[in-house]
Amino acid sequence: MVLRDPRTEPFDRIEHIAVSVREVQFRGRSGRHTGFIYRLDKAPPRLVHLRWHYNLSDELPSVDEDLWQELGLDEPNRVFLAGWVSQLGQNQDAIPYGFDSGGNCFEVGTGAYIAPPPGKGLTCATFVSGVLNNLGYDLVDEASWPVRISDLGWQTLIIHALQDTGASQAHIDAIDADLGNIRLRPEEVAAAATVDGTLWPTTFQIVEPLSREVLAELTAARARPV
């Protein structure tokens, strides 16, 4: 089992920080979405995730949608990370959507997002991996990730969606240059984050089968009676 279903394992069992993953519908296609669920001391758990272009949310997680699993880090690091991640809500309208982060992207002291050049930005998945990378946790070995034709289709869909939702022309023009980049899929980042941290950065060969388990568990959770 990679994921936990909050209907049977409530979010308040999260010890400091977890990764979340849910199914979403996007432009008539089914997809996945990921983020962090953090818990400060005895406070209610919160989900911080990059929804879309300049749209980050810090809110209560959804029992009906968000499956979760704790990060594969030791407790001192999870406590620290939960505290650090709790600052990210300030970036509500600061993070553009893009296929290439353009490097370290958060001020390490504040968690404030550093505006990148046009076209650069994060996805929901690279938001998770970018936060971790920023703090010295190298989550995945990107060099081991393949370029997949199906990801090119997804990237094209995203560019159209950005155009339709009012992204600037400069952003659209620049993001074209990143078409064909490797893509870290949400289920892959979620799966990687659950791997024992001593094995980070995790390779595609380790993550890919786990990500298929994530997909299967999302399907099973959807079919499970509430």
Binding site: L40, F80, A82, G83, W84, Q87, G109, G136
Partner: protein, 226 residues
């Protein structure tokens, strides 16, 4: 002299203003379940909480960046308790010639007061505006709230580019008395600016040693910070 040597070599005499000697300040009276220094400055007023026994106070005089640092460690019956009460506090404030000695005198002038007391700042003392006030956790555990406070305090220094002060803090923090998550916080928040910090390498070495002494594997806890 090692960190633990220093923290144990408490001198019975009083402070030498402006020096970096360890000194002991005894404060009698009923224990207060509050930070040793409450709101430290309110409209030019210093609030000193009585009822604590400080193991040491280190005064670090004005350094080239124009900042003073005061490191205080609460000792006595509280130092061994596993509670959320913080036992170390670091206060740094912009340096003005003479302010260190006056601050020290002010501190000592309040020692022995049985109750929490507001003491007016002498006219000759410039208005102190500390930008860095840290409550460091006890050696067992730190709460997320404490860590967030620590991140914020470090950020205040990062924003000012006060690398000399951060160096001073990294050299001064009593790692053997800090919780693992607090050590992680210092290490990971300063990681991104390590090239600007002369003390960072030694801090990490000392942190590794301290984590080992706490029964943790430093290679795991500080993974990615090589």
């Amino acid at each position: 002299m090692t960190r633990s040597d220093r923290s144990q070599s408490i001198r019975p005499d009083l402070a030498i203003p402006g020096s970096t000697d360890w000194v002991e300040v005894k404060v009698s009276g009923a224990p207060q379940a509050v930070m040793p220094w409450g709101a430290p400055l309110e409209d030019n007023v210093v609030v000193v909480r009585a009822g604590r026994l400080y193991n040491f106070i280190q005064m670090i005089p004005t350094n080239p960046t124009g900042a003073n640092t005061l490191v205080m460690q609460l000792g006595g019956p509280y130092s061994d308790k596993a509670s959320s009460t913080s036992n170390v506090q670091i206060i740094t404030w912009p340096g003005v010639p003479g302010s260190t000695a006056q601050w020290s005198s002010q501190l000592l002038a309040n020692a022995g007061q049985p109750e929490a007391k507001k003491a007016p700042v002498p006219n000759s003392l410039p208005q102190l505006t500390p930008f860095f006030e840290l409550g460091l956790g006890n050696q067992q555990r730190s709460s997320s709230e404490e860590l967030v406070s620590c991140i914020g305090a470090l950020n205040a220094l990062l924003k000012r580019g006060s690398f000399d002060v951060i160096d001073t803090v990294l050299r001064s923090v009593p790692l053997d008395r800090m919780s693992p998550e607090l050590i992680v916080t210092f290490a990971r928040v300063t990681f991104a600016v390590r090239r600007h910090l002369r003390a960072w390498g030694q801090f990490v070495l000392d942190a590794r040693s301290a984590l080992s002494q706490k029964g943790l594997n430093p290679a795991v806890v500080l993974k990615g910070l090589a």
